[in-house]
């Protein structure tokens, strides 16, 4: 995405007014370590570069959205936390952030990144995750139990219609909490959460999916038998890949596929210790502890209390 000229122009002014060339370079090097302004502009190291020219060059080099957002974030950090112990009040910073918001992005304070505003658009990488970069992500893996038998037993249109309904239920529950369904295959999906209290969001999504599926099985489904699912949730570092096939090879995805297939009973949610630790007590109380070797898992099997 190209950043509009008006924002680039304000940013250029902000850099010029707020710091010297040396500080600009220090900020830029925190994003691109081998960035050398003198080499890029063709000046020898001994010749000073005018503030305005340096700012213009930096903004030009950062005019592509992903880098530009990093630059703005670095300016926000310089104002809030300072560089080498000194804070730099950045002129026009409010205007810059305002313009970015107008472009359809919001600032996520927890992760300190600009992400797309879900009301404006929804992409799998929230508009900001970059290929091959590592992020802390919470993943939700959902598996449709006995998928193969169902597909063999019933007519294709009926199965397609049923699975489409399930997909709508899952997508609604996930996207409502600003998560994204990264990969949907015949027998289930993987959804990701990176924002806010991502562990709670993933668990609440899972619980809501079970409740909606309960209503669907009872009220709307035309399948003669209920759809049953398994859900596993885990968190950790994950290398972002655009390709679902590549994504499957990442460590966190491999781990969660194993957690779902080997440690999750039917119609249950299995979570790891790190997820359990961040849950609200009332939700955590629903989970029972189970052990597999040295690893502790927590399982919530959906059972309905009848009066």
């Amino acid at each position: 995405m190209k950043i509009p000229y008006s924002i680039l122009s304000i940013t250029e002014k902000a850099l010029t007014k707020s710091m010297d060339v040396h500080t600009m370079e220090r900020i830029v090097k925190s994003i691109i370590p081998n960035y050398n302004l003198h080499t890029i502009m063709g000046f020898s190291e001994s010749i000073p570069i005018p503030n305005k020219d340096a700012a213009a060059q930096i903004v030009r080099d950062f005019s592509e959205s992903k880098l530009f957002f990093k630059l703005v974030h670095a300016l926000m950090e310089a104002q809030e936390y300072g560089i080498m112990g000194r804070r730099y009040p950045i002129a026009h910073l409010h205007e810059i952030v305002g313009e970015i918001i107008n472009l359809g992005f919001i600032y996520d304070k927890n992760n300190r990144i600009f992400i797309e505003n879900a009301k404006a658009r929804k992409t799998p990488n929230w508009g900001v995750l970059e290929e091959d970069e590592e992020y802390i992500v919470t993943l939700l893996r959902l598996d449709i139990a006995a998928n193969t038998q169902l597909v063999r037993k019933y007519e294709s249109p009926l199965i397609t219609q049923t699975y489409n309904s399930l997909r709508s239920i899952v997508t609604a529950a996930v996207e409502q909490r600003n998560g994204r369904v990264w990969n949907w295959e015949g027998d289930g999906c993987i959804a990701a959460f990176i924002l806010g209290n991502r562990n709670m969001s993933a668990v609440c999504s899972a619980i809501e999916i079970f409740h909606e599926l309960f209503l669907f099985n009872y009220i709307d489904s035309e399948l003669p038998e209920p759809i049953n699912i398994r859900v596993a949730i885990d968190t950790g570092y994950c290398t972002y890949k655009h390709s679902p096939e590549e994504l499957k090879k990442t460590e966190l995805v491999t781990k969660i596929l194993e957690l779902e297939s080997k440690h999750t009973p039917l119609n249950s949610i299995t979570i790891t210790n790190s997820i359990y630790a961040s849950l609200h007590a009332e939700i955590a109380n629903k989970f029972t502890t189970t052990r597999s070797g040295n690893t502790v898992y927590y399982i919530y099997t959906i059972q309905w209390a009848t009066p």
Partner: protein, 319 residues
Amino acid sequence: MNIIIIYQKKNLPVLQKAFAAIIKSKKFSTAFVDYTESKKIQPLDKNTIYYLDITGTKKVDAEKHVKKFNAGGNYFAIIDLKNSFTDIAWFFHNNACDYLNKDMLIKPLPEKRIQAIMKLKGIIPKAQTVHNYIIAKDSWKGIVPDNEYTFCFLFIEILDIGELKKHIGSEHLNQKIFSFRKYVEELLYQVDGQCWMWMDATGLFIFPFNGTTVPSIYHAIRLILNRLIISLEHTVFNQIIRYRIAMHIGNTVYQPRGKTGTIISDCINSLFHLGQKYTGEDGLFITEDVYTFLNERTKKLFLKTKPFEGRQIYTFKYK
């Protein structure tokens, strides 16, 4: 016994006149439903006769409609004001229980006709409170203040208010109630619900009744199932709340919100009694008037419990 007349728009005045005596009768509950909306109908139970107005419809459509009602084993009858179908016997071969054309509707239909159908088909009317539903045309667009209509009412009350106040203080409690109310308002708005009254921790929502279904029941069920999530995600201060929901269908004079002080309604009164006096438990409680209009699958989610103020009550099985 319910009589539901599925009418073609331009035939409504003729049919209202024709069914006048039956509408007045205390033995029957009658409702008129627009033909275009009738596709959404989930046929009710064996206590209902549907009169299908097929005047001017294509033969294929009419046959499809008839087969749908026949397949469900429902009682249905045919209205054909233009005599456009020559093979009337076809309807009876498909289990229709009555046939009316224009000549037969010049005078109001007598009650005896319905009783004859009931006798012929062996329909034994279930004991029920008799209603004359006043269905607003086009939902809220057709509702005019000072007039009486049939609404589905949803009462909701947050429980343990004293305990919550002790934990979070009255200022925070007000904020918590406000956030919950806002969430419920937004949720029920999706099914044409409006918050009609709200006092402290108690709210009353109304939905114009369409004569055939109660779509709000599914949102009421969602409110019960998702109580934990709603408490944490949609209300402030992380405290879990419990609430009770009661639902009923009845008639009342409509006044806009804020001008409801002068309304005297037995129906609202008894709904508040059901919501506040029937039980101390949280959960979803509905009267038989709501239960009647649920489809068979939804009915299975409810348990019959003890009657209250002369009405049979059903409760949602799960929490």
